[in-house]
């Protein structure tokens, strides 16, 4: 029992580390070859976990080899467009100039129900609003609406807008984010003074505190 426990623990760490090294994409965003590798890694970890007779090194070598293949393919994909299109395939243009391209749909084995469903997921309920739709290699649909149907932007209205950067999260779960404070060229003294203004004695009493680029400090205290 203890052997299984230890082996499971070690393999779990290895799988987490492998997935972490493979990149930050979510399952839905994985390219076909990445999805295959992910599934195989999970299977490979389970076999030596269940059977203590199988040397742990067998699982470790298999998982490491798959990671090596994945990293190598990613490096090659970065360097060669031909290799990338071989590995990931090419996107399919399913709607062009407002017209559904049946031939492309058939080639991608993509039916109208799927097209309408993915359009609805992007809040497009009227097919005639679509100028272009591209079925990406990850299976996601990218949609370009007709110019008259696109939401109005400040640029369309010729309105001036202020710069908006990323807000700085200064306190999270009662912990002061010193790197964020440094990035905003702020000190802990300033932060404590700001907290006192809001009637909070210590950063440990704060659930979250963030500062936006216009200088507004948002503070939410922890529930008592």
């Amino acid at each position: 029992m203890l052997i299984t426990l230890t082996r499971t623990f070690l393999l779990y760490i290895l799988v987490v580390l492998t997935m972490r090294l493979m990149g930050k994409r979510q399952i839905a965003q994985l390219e076909p070859f990445e999805l295959v590798i992910t599934i195989i890694i999970a299977e490979l970890a389970v076999i030596p976990m269940q059977d203590p007779n199988i040397p742990l090194i067998n699982g470790i070598i298999s998982i490491t080899t798959l990671l090596f293949i994945q990293v190598t393919f990613s490096v090659l994909s970065l360097r060669s467009i031909r290799f990338r299109s071989f590995l990931d395939g090419r996107y399919s243009l399913v709607i062009a100039n407002g017209k559904i391209l049946e031939k492309e749909m058939r080639k991608a084995r993509y039916n109208l129900d799927e097209l309408l469903e993915q359009l609805r997921q992007q809040s497009v309920f009227n097919l005639s609003d679509v100028e272009f739709a591209i079925l990406e290699t990850s299976g996601e649909l990218s949609v370009l609406l007709k110019s008259q149907k696109r939401p109005v932007t400040p640029e369309d209205m010729q309105l001036e807008t202020d710069y908006e950067g990323l807000p700085l999260v200064l306190i999270m779960d009662g912990q002061v984010m010193t790197s964020e404070l440094k990035a905003g060229q702020l000190g802990e003294g300033w932060l404590r003074a700001e907290l006192e203004k809001h009637g909070i004695k210590s950063p440990s009493d704060v659930l979250i505190a963030s500062l936006n680029t216009t200088g507004d400090l948002f503070i939410q205290a922890k529930e008592p």
Partner: protein, 126 residues
């Protein structure tokens, strides 16, 4: 790119380690088979003490190798040889010639299989 270089080094270590393991298995199994051949001759000549000494020599070497190989080779393959060596000891002590010879032959086959399984061949790959 840094990760890829690290991965290449790890893969190189695996390939080198695998080759060293394969060589170690070949060397050890050859040595053990050679001693077992001598033990077989001793059994045929009814030299039971000599055969028992040779068996003990194989056992000693095997225990050392088993420790080294156990992290890399399927445990049931290693256990089969240990069990066979124990059985051989009993047959030699009770001077059962037919059984002892059969056990030595089985041991030779097991050692041959052990090496055969670890060699990189098309047969093993497929």
């Amino acid at each position: 790119m840094k990760l890829w270089i690290v991965m290449c080094l790890i893969m190189l270590a695996i390939v080198v380690g695998g080759s060293l393991l394969e060589r170690s298995i070949l060397k050890a199994t050859d040595y053990l088979s050679h001693i077992l051949d001598s033990a077989k001759d001793a059994v045929r000549d009814n030299q039971w003490q000599v055969a028992l000494d040779l068996r003990n020599k194989v056992d000693e070497k095997w225990r050392k190798q088993q420790k080294t190989w156990s992290p890399f080779i399927h445990n049931s393959d290693l256990n089969a040889i240990t069990v066979s060596l124990t059985r051989l000891q009993s047959f030699l002590e009770s001077k059962e010639q037919a059984h002892a010879l059969a056990e030595i032959s089985q041991l030779e086959v097991l050692l041959l299989q052990l090496h055969g399984q670890e060699v990189l061949t098309l047969k093993n790959v497929f």
